[in-house]
Point group: C2
Chain length 445, copies 2
Amino acid sequence: MEIEMKMITGIKETKYVNAEELGKYIGGEVHVKASIYKIRRMKGFAFVLLRTSRMVVQSIYSAEEASFPLETLKEECCCNIRARVVLEERSRTGYELHLLDVEVLTEPEEISPIVINGKQMNTSMEKLLDYRPITLRNDKERAIFKIQNGITDGMRSFFAKEGFTEIHSPKIVFAGAEGGANIFKLDYFGKEAYLAQSPQFYKQMMVGVYERVFEIGPVFRAEKHDTSRHLNEYTGVDFEMGYIETFEEIMQMETEMLKAVMEWLRKHCAYELELLSATLPEIEEIPAIRFSEAKEWIARECNRPIRDYEDFEPEEEKLLSELVMKKFESEFVFVTHYPSKKRPFYAMDDSENPEDTLSFDLLFRGLEITTGGQRIHGYRQQMEKIIARGMDPDAFESYLMMHKHGIPPHGGMGMGLERLTSRLLMQDNVRYSTLFPRDVHRLTP
Amino acid sequence: MEIEMKMITGIKETKYVNAEELGKYIGGEVHVKASIYKIRRMKGFAFVLLRTSRMVVQSIYSAEEASFPLETLKEECCCNIRARVVLEERSRTGYELHLLDVEVLTEPEEISPIVINGKQMNTSMEKLLDYRPITLRNDKERAIFKIQNGITDGMRSFFAKEGFTEIHSPKIVFAGAEGGANIFKLDYFGKEAYLAQSPQFYKQMMVGVYERVFEIGPVFRAEKHDTSRHLNEYTGVDFEMGYIETFEEIMQMETEMLKAVMEWLRKHCAYELELLSATLPEIEEIPAIRFSEAKEWIARECNRPIRDYEDFEPEEEKLLSELVMKKFESEFVFVTHYPSKKRPFYAMDDSENPEDTLSFDLLFRGLEITTGGQRIHGYRQQMEKIIARGMDPDAFESYLMMHKHGIPPHGGMGMGLERLTSRLLMQDNVRYSTLFPRDVHRLTP
């Protein structure tokens, strides 16, 4: 008996052109898919801005050329369009479209409760986020996340070149990497489980497998901080590398990674960078200063008493960035050798001064975007530190397995993707660079 | 006053060579970093297998050449090594190393409780997973996840070419995409929240922003199934595309993606594919058969009564794959038009037969690896289906925002990365292709 089968052979040819290639069709006619972004009625014609997958393209409606009345078009209609591509030197793209035919595929049911097609989103951050599914359609809003995608593409390209393997570590875990109270609990078939605060344990284990690994994925922090730089879920960029001789190598790797990312953005996201008037930092070299010296330097230069000898106040991070910019013309600064008691139990202490760790933070334009350092690789050394901190070694049995069975000297770093993006774009709140932010007050959309 | 700053300039030159490039140094001497994978004592010399970041490299220890006694080396030591690279045609790599000097960086504290350097891991799956941090060091074990990394790299390269934007959607959500009881709950600052069962809602919203989006990230299913194909956390590969004319375009896109992945693996993972004796499927075209016809075909050909008219039994998926292989020589088969009542509320019903949906699954070597289909884009149509199902529209307010304000016709698919990997490697349990599996009984390591 005959079975009715259809053979799926792969992508078919289409009459629709890729909107990014419209410039190739100047003088000709094209079929293109687009949403109606904005209609501006003029005397005798109208400007119709078309939102395509990446660019907003200007088109002209005139009753002489078009086969349909202007009323057919509404903002946020999705359409198949036939148009002429006409040379127009005043346009940013070098061309404009003259509308000929349109097929309206879908129409909005209601008028937008918020203006999304202005030059900027003129609204509060709260509203911007409440209406995220539609406010992201604003061309500047979506440019932010195209740049964010450029950042991760640039990183991945760099990691591949440097021999890193990408891993996917579990997010439901038995114990937290950083410990403490800032951890989400969940019921896992009657057992207590947690959401991973970082892939720390797993990336270290994987150093014993591939030497160099990275992961770009969600991390969860149940912090109650409600500030412009905290999120309860964010995208962590983590790498970890084996066979290091000094913890400086980790900072060197991060420096190269940042250079590669800026290079990538220059090449692949010029459209969005221009749209957002973003200035990429020039990275030649990044100064590194010891934490204790940085504290003293800020105190002296800014005439400010030191209140906390173990951590920075946010204001101090800003002041340090300003001092470094003035003195070294660098928008980045590494701060090294944080006090041991402020760093996790797996941080390697400095043998020259065991009160300090071989660790660092990276500040960018006044904000901490990275924490990293060398980890303890010796089993006994790690056991001692766990016990000295009053922690229970049994809770870390599978973690300690790697120390017990040999792991090379290693270290790595974790970076907040949203923090990097938001400082790159000079936003005053990390939420602007978070697709759908989660904070103490926000769980939707 | 002078501030002590160190300038971090990026990656320094190193005397160590990349182990993958050892073949370039035949006849010369090299410095290389490696773990001692296996020592085989022979008469008058020893074979010492070195585990480098990707390859296991054979070296020869002889007292004449080496500056150190063999006892210096223990399995799972991490070392800096100086060696001569010698032409050796019988070796798979075309060369072998003659050990000259060694610097032992770290040593295991205990002998491994499980043999990890055999040709295979001769142990139960339970033990394999219990000791994951060390069993992954076995060269065949780690090859699995190098191939998995090749799969995602191949996908990303394909998605970039096809104009997809990568997104990072939140994993802590207010409502579940698929609904039902299979959802993990957590306490979110006193509110009830869930772990995302898929990025479904978000990828659909993002179609209104970028037209084509994808995400590769964790998804969570609180299913109590304890089978060889279920995981409670896995890596989902999701894409969603706008402006489709038929749901077949989604299958075409997936077919092209799979072709691109196989091509990528052939080019970039030949070493691992050979190590695992893996055979990649040849993909020219993939047959698509309607669900109801597939059920009848299996019943007829295999003389098997139909017990469930709305879903496949796992055995039927295997039988269908066998029938398709025999008739069409394809290791993949799309099954289309699943019954509406078995598909989620956002699935587009078939206008020709509203009992069915414009949806599909993809089976590969007897296992379902993908679910996809066209989604409802009309606001009223979506509202009607929500209400008809007795669901509360208010719970989907931000999801429905996109329908209300216009979204193009669209659809997409979700694939389990571990399932694809495990069928590619012909494993009988998806856990073998999961780095650190989570199931009803397993929360560690």
